[in-house]
């Protein structure tokens, strides 16, 4: 109900500006009136940010059409592309969906409209995800989810533990935490969250897909990912890391009652912790991820999305202009942070805008300084055209491994992911090396 009122209000505002510009635009715009753009997105309160644009740009009016989330919006878009009509001008697309969309010819190449001017605003790892390593630019990065390590500072202090800076230290701390209280774990290995594991593999230097000339390569079963899987398999086998999925009522309770002492998550974690573990306000702290190589600090991305222009849009240039403004303009980014609560991909703007820590982390005033340092170290990673298949293979194979609780099962799961992903690409007809 509320959305429909809001949409109605927006429509009226649009109609009003339409009338007004209809009187004044006779000189320039011809008699078509302002360009109207539809924008499918699910970021909370995004329409308020778009209102700022609409007020300043009577010639390009953008309407946000609220979507349920990343997956349903993409499924809808792919259907519209297949049908030949019905797609919006702009869509919020998660980074891992971009190759799938490009492969279905759903996204316009924005390099024609000058989108390459803003390349320097983004970390190289993020920019790679929207170009797929080519000269084309398929989307403008909006937010990113650099991974960080969150821990209960009070419990660490009580047990006399230092914040781990390497994965070896993380394993030691995990053993100490579990030894002090068998109900407590430093973390859990979740077979439900493929994006989480991808981020960890990314940190270790993995890039699961690659373009090599005219062929794709699938590089899941290689040293970086095997190292990560073997590491977690070892800890789960030892019993010092939990094997239950994240985002269950049980896990939520564990975050709140101190049984989950740490969480390897991303910069958006304060929102989740605030919602699920309200009793622990002020007890958590954030730190950079434990490292494989302390001399070359790295992290992965968990989550994050971009603004893309569809091939069905009749106003691709105007849409690019809007997408660029939305994600790099100071006022827009400020509004995205304050009203939509995202962590902007634009590094310079992020630093300028994010000065106070999130409410849940008021005990750590330097929260966003840490985040900014971490964000600069995101490793490059190339997603392929069948991320969905690899992710569902992750769910199934690592569920089996987590249940089996053996290191060998974790390594077998990596092999199986590689096999399933490659077989699917070959079956569809992709040239795979």
């Amino acid at each position: 109900m509320r959305t429909s009122i809001r949409v109605g209000a927006l429509a009226m505002a649009t109609a009003a500006t339409l009338l007004m510009s209809g009187c004044s635009a006779t000189a320039g715009g011809g008699d078509d009136g302002p360009v109207k753009l539809n924008y499918w997105a699910w970021a909370p309160n995004l329409e308020k940010v778009v209102d700022i644009w609409n007020e300043k740009n009577p010639d390009i009016q953008v309407t946000v059409q609220k979507q349920d989330g990343g997956d349903p919006a993409i499924t809808k878009l792919l259907t519209a592309i297949k049908a030949g009509s019905g797609a919006p001008d702009l869509i919020q697309a998660e980074y891992q969906k971009i190759p799938t969309l490009v492969s279905s010819d759903a996204l316009a190449d924005l390099s024609e409209y000058g989108a390459d001017d803003i390349e320097d605003s983004f970390a190289a790892g993020v920019w790679d995800s929207v170009t797929l390593g080519s000269d084309a630019i398929y989307a403008i990065p909006q937010d990113s989810g650099p991974m960080m390590f969150y821990y209960r500072a009070d419990i660490f202090e009580e047990l006399g533990l230092a914040v781990p800076t390497t994965w070896d230290e993380y394993a030691e701390v995990a053993r100490a935490v579990h030894a002090a209280d068998p109900a407590k774990y430093l973390g859990t290995f979740s077979s439900n969250d493929a994006g989480w594991f991808t981020g960890m593999a990314q940190q270790a230097g993995a890039s699961w897909w690659g373009i090599d000339g005219e062929a794709w390569s699938v590089d899941i079963a290689q040293t970086p990912t095997e190292t990560v899987a073997g590491y977690w398999g070892g800890l789960v086998e030892e019993g010092v890391i939990d094997n239950k999925p994240m985002y269950t009522p049980e896990w939520n309770a564990g975050l709140n009652n101190g049984e989950q002492v740490g969480w390897l998550s991303a910069v958006w974690a304060p929102g989740v912790l605030g919602g699920n573990a309200a009793d622990t306000t002020g007890l958590w702290k954030a730190a950079p991820m434990p490292q494989w190589d302390v001399d070359a600090p790295a992290t992965g991305n968990w989550g994050g999305s971009s603004t893309a222009v569809t091939t069905q849009s009749k106003h691709q240039e105007a849409a690019t202009e809007f997408a660029t403004w939305l994600n790099t303009d100071e006022e827009a980014v400020q509004a995205l942070v304050t009203t939509s609560g995202i962590y902007p991909a634009d590094a310079a703007q992020a630093k300028a805008v994010l000065t106070a820590p999130p409410e849940f982390f008021s005990n750590q005033p330097e929260f966003y300084d840490i985040a900014a340092d971490v964000a600069a170290t995101v490793s490059p990673f190339t997603y392929g055209p069948n991320v969905n298949v690899a992710y569902s293979a992750y769910n199934d194979e690592f569920a089996k491994a987590a249940e089996a609780k053996t290191q060998s099962a974790f390594l077998a799961a990596v092999e199986a992911m590689q096999e399933i992903t490659t077989a699917d690409m070959k079956k569809s007809g992709f040239t795979v090396k």
């Binding site: 490009v102 439900n192 999925p245 309770a253 564990g254 969905n388 769910n395 199934d396 987590a402 569809s428």
Partner: protein, 322 residues
Amino acid sequence: MTVTEAPVATRSSTPPVRRGRGTFRTRVLVPYAMLAPGIILFVAFMAAPIVYTLFLSFQKTKVSGLGLGAGARSTVFAGIDNYVTTLTNTEFGASVGRVLLYGFILIPLMLGLALLFALLLDSRRTRAAGFSRTAIFLPYAVPAVISSLLWGFLYLPAVSPFYFVFDTLGWDVPSLLSAGGVTFAIANIALWGGVGFNMIVMYTSLKSVPSDIYEAAKLDGASEVQIALRIKVPIIAPAIVMTALFSMVATLQVFAEPTTLRPLTNSLSTSWSPLMLVYRDAFTRDDIYSAAATSIVIALVTFAFSFLFLRVVQKRAFGQED
């Protein structure tokens, strides 16, 4: 009957040719006009989707090269490729095996309990029958997704009041969401929701039995238990067969319960049941074509099962009606 008599009536009166033609046309068209809403709805929402699914099942996506950009992806005729893939897919075989085991646990228990409750409610000594009937039926009104969420909470040791009690008593009860218990966990949810519905079907059937049969049995010295087993059960056998058939079809189509429980455990794969496999292929893997082929296979298997079952039991259950 009235339609065949109509010409006789016209013949007896003066025969105006034009009126006769009109009647003829009406006679032919009126039934179709009356059937039209049903036919249109059937064609639009049943026949057309089935035909379209068949059509999709013989196609596949063909990508060339890197598959990036315009024209890299096309839809081509696949022959029976998708069917071969489905039938040779070990995941599909495993999922069918799992739901068969699930049905083997669920159906006898559910129908047994439903029959027991129906007979108890129908026996003359029962008190508070109306209340009990509603109480047993009520879970059926809870949507499967909601009941799965409810039971999901009860299954998770850390948040379950049951496990709190077990812990207090010092019992070490394994989690029902572990690999060995998850089939029982899902069967339990379906049992909780399904007993009431099946009980109502059987109970309604019992109510339509004339009471003088029971009086006659009583006079012959039959006990309540004997009446139940020797008279009531055979009489409502067709109702029992029908509930068994519905339950079998529902078993092969189980989807909501395992899908809702899946995020809570490592023991449920995305292809646990055949329909979950179809859903995953269609909406997670974007392969609507092989999903269509798998759907057709599931529909055929369901048909085959239903017919076989009816053939086996029909003689015995509906014998008196022939």
